[in-house]
């Protein structure tokens, strides 16, 4: 059930870093448009700027020039507090390193984004229960991240990304730290979420993965978009 319309738009976005006296153009005037319900892959070799692009979309970084629109809002001009709200409500992140909080249990990691949105305990409990079931993590709810496997940790990260039911899920090399079989399972989950209507932007350097799952693949090289491939 795909919804219509543009959800993410990058207009002439640039991100420069100063390293010593040199300016590194990690992202150099890129334009990307993502429609609601798309599964987009951003591909490229190391240092191509693909992760930077994802962090910019996720409002974890601010562009040096250009504008980024998320659901119609220009997030490149918002303050830190508003950006935090957007990250909490509209975006779910999945990282290569899982990035779970080691001192919180699986369930607490999942309820953390809800708690930050001020959601009531009852609702949090109910939502967490459903998400845990969906990702087959119910029996791991009270475990700590270091007590579960890498694949399970990545599923917890997906569960956390789903906590506030965001429209957009940003995944940075989600299978990068997993073996192929586990990685496939994680990708199947993402595909399923996409079919349920979530917009997914995935950064990967895995060509096969990109073409197997994504509708559109943006190829980045030296911070610029080199090619855009669309699934027929």
């Amino acid at each position: 059930m795909k919804k219509e319309g543009v959800i993410i738009q990058l207009k002439n976005v640039e991100r420069h870093y100063h390293i010593g006296e040199n300016i590194v153009r990690a992202v150099d005037r890129i334009n990307i448009t993502v429609n609601r319900g798309d599964f987009v892959a951003v591909m490229g070799p190391s240092g191509s700027g693909k992760s930077t692009a994802m962090y910019l979309i996720g409002s974890l970084d601010i562009p040096t020039h250009g504008h980024i629109f998320l659901d119609g809002y220009d997030i490149s001009v918002l303050g830190e507090s508003d950006l935090a709200q957007i990250r909490g409500r509209n975006i779910g992140f999945i990282f290569q390193q899982f990035n779970l909080i080691p001192t919180l249990t699986v369930k607490e990691n999942i309820t953390l984004p809800m708690s930050l949105q001020g959601i009531s305990k009852e609702v949090m409990e109910e939502r967490a229960k459903k998400i845990l079931e969906k990702l087959e993590l119910t029996d791991r709810a009270e475990h700590y991240p270091n007590q579960i496997s890498g694949g399970q940790q990545q599923r917890v990260a997906i569960a956390r990304a789903l906590a506030n039911d965001p429209e957009v899920i940003l995944a940075d090399e989600p299978t990068g730290n997993l073996d192929s079989k586990t990685g496939e399972r994680v990708m199947d989950v993402l595909k399923k979420l996409n079919k349920e209507g979530k917009t997914i932007v995935m950064v990967t350097h895995d060509h096969d993965l990109a073409y197997q799952y994504a509708d559109i693949v943006y190829w980045l090289k030296d911070g610029k978009i080199e090619k855009v491939s669309k699934r027929k």
Binding site: Y55, G58, L60, D61, E80, S81, A84, Q85, R87, G88, R89, F93, F95, N99, L100, I101, P102, T103, L104, E108, T111, L112, P113, S115, L116, Q117, G118, K121, R160, A163, N164
Partner: protein, 400 residues
């Protein structure tokens, strides 16, 4: 407001870094404990001084020699009967009475003890009024009394002598036997509680007619008491043929005397509390250091929290909560240890007879110490917490 998950997160972090948390708590605890001990004993002393300075002592003037020896030891100076009359003559003085002090030997079986024998005029017991001394057992001295009234410690076995005394028993002083007519209530220190009181007439009988007064206590018109003090000084100077500024005695109101003790006490207590505050400052630096290290260690986690919607205010709250919580726990433990220590200290002081040195506890002391620890902890956490909010998620998430 800080969220429950954030609180759990903070508490587990403190738990996971046990050694560091413990050392930080220990330094806070030591500082608060010291403050608690000094303030409670300081307040106890203030209370003691306040209690001995009652309404019955407000109109009393105390005249004593300028000497360096203890009571009765300074034989270079004493007041004559004429000096006493000079004081009595002074306008505004209602009455005045001379007090004798002598060191005496008291004997029970074969055990000897040395103490002060204090003599006053039972018709004008100004000294007793001044110290607000009440009778614990028996009765006060009467005019013409041949008996003695003893300090409280004579009632307690093994305090001065193995066997306690009782009313109507005899006590041997300087080889003479005296009948005990009463006991004063406890003053709170071993010296005062082992004194023996006798009438002026009896004192003269033991030591001869020529003995002279060691103190003079006057009862004066309270409305112009400062002028009365000046006049007494003037009259005594004239009587003794001394130039102004070269007085070998000094007269002051009892209230002034207590006030001067109070101000000395204030300086001493203030100085000790200052030392305790320095230790609190050290513990605050320690807490700031702990929190600073914690921020560095958790840079990535800060990034994660920000990526899932944590605002800067939330991050700030997490770290501030942690440092304030350290302060709270350190404060509570410090207060409990302080209470334990002062209770034991007070018990020991009581056993050795210094029960006037007893700590004073109030709700505000407990609450104040804990609140102070919380506030200090929170203040120490402000800079690290601000530092945590400055963490940029993109850098944090790439941080290994």
């Amino acid at each position: 407001m800080i969220k429950k998950e954030s609180v759990m997160y903070s508490l587990r972090n403190l738990k996971n870094r046990k050694t560091r948390s413990f050392l930080t708590l220990f330094s806070i605890m030591m500082g608060i404990m010291m403050i608690f001990v000094f303030v409670s004993f300081g307040l106890g002393l203030y209370n003691y001084i306040e209690n001995i300075s009652t309404s019955s002592s407000a109109n009393k003037i105390f005249i004593q020699p300028k000497g360096i020896g203890g009571i009765g030891l300074d034989t270079t100076f004493s007041f004559s009967e004429d000096d006493l009359k000079a004081v009595q003559r002074t306008s505004g003085v209602y009455d005045a009475s001379g007090i004798y002090f002598k060191t005496v030997e008291v004997k029970q079986d074969k055990k000897l003890s040395y103490t002060y024998l204090i003599a006053y005029d039972p018709v004008k017991p100004l000294l007793i009024e001044l110290f607000n001394l009440g009778i614990f057992k028996g009765r006060e001295l009467k005019p013409g009394d041949r008996g003695v009234v003893l300090g409280y410690n004579y009632l307690v076995s093994d305090k001065i002598f193995p066997k306690p005394y009782s009313v109507n028993q005899n006590i041997e002083i300087n080889g003479q036997k005296f009948k005990i007519v009463g006991f004063y209530e406890s003053i709170g220190n071993p010296t005062d509680d082992s004194q023996i009181y006798i009438s002026n007439d009896m004192m003269k009988e033991i030591f001869g007619e020529n003995i002279s007064y060691n103190w003079i206590v006057a009862d004066a018109d309270i409305s112009k008491i400062d002028k009365v003090v000046d006049d007494i000084t003037k009259n005594l100077r004239r009587e003794r043929g001394i130039e102004e500024g070269k007085e070998d005695f000094f007269a002051q109101t009892y209230e002034d005397m207590i006030a001067s003790y109070s101000s000395i006490l204030q300086i001493v207590v203030g100085f000790i509390i200052l030392i305790a505050l320095i230790s609190i400052f050290v513990s605050a630096v320690n807490t700031a250091n702990t929190m600073g290290t914690s921020v560095l260690e958790r840079t990535k986690e800060i990034g994660i929290i920000k990526s899932v919607g944590g605002t800067n205010a939330e991050i700030f709250g997490i770290f501030l909560f942690e440092s304030a919580f350290l302060g709270f726990v350190g404060g509570v433990i410090g207060v409990l240890f302080g209470f334990g220590l002062t209770s034991i200290g007070a018990r020991i002081l009581e056993i050795v007879g210094y029960n006037f040195l007893s700590p004073y506890y109030s709700f505000w002391l407990f609450f104040g110490c804990v609140a102070f620890a919380v506030v200090t902890g929170a203040i120490s956490g402000v800079a690290p917490a601000i530092k945590a909010t400055k963490v940029r998620p993109i850098n944090a998430l790439r941080y290994e």
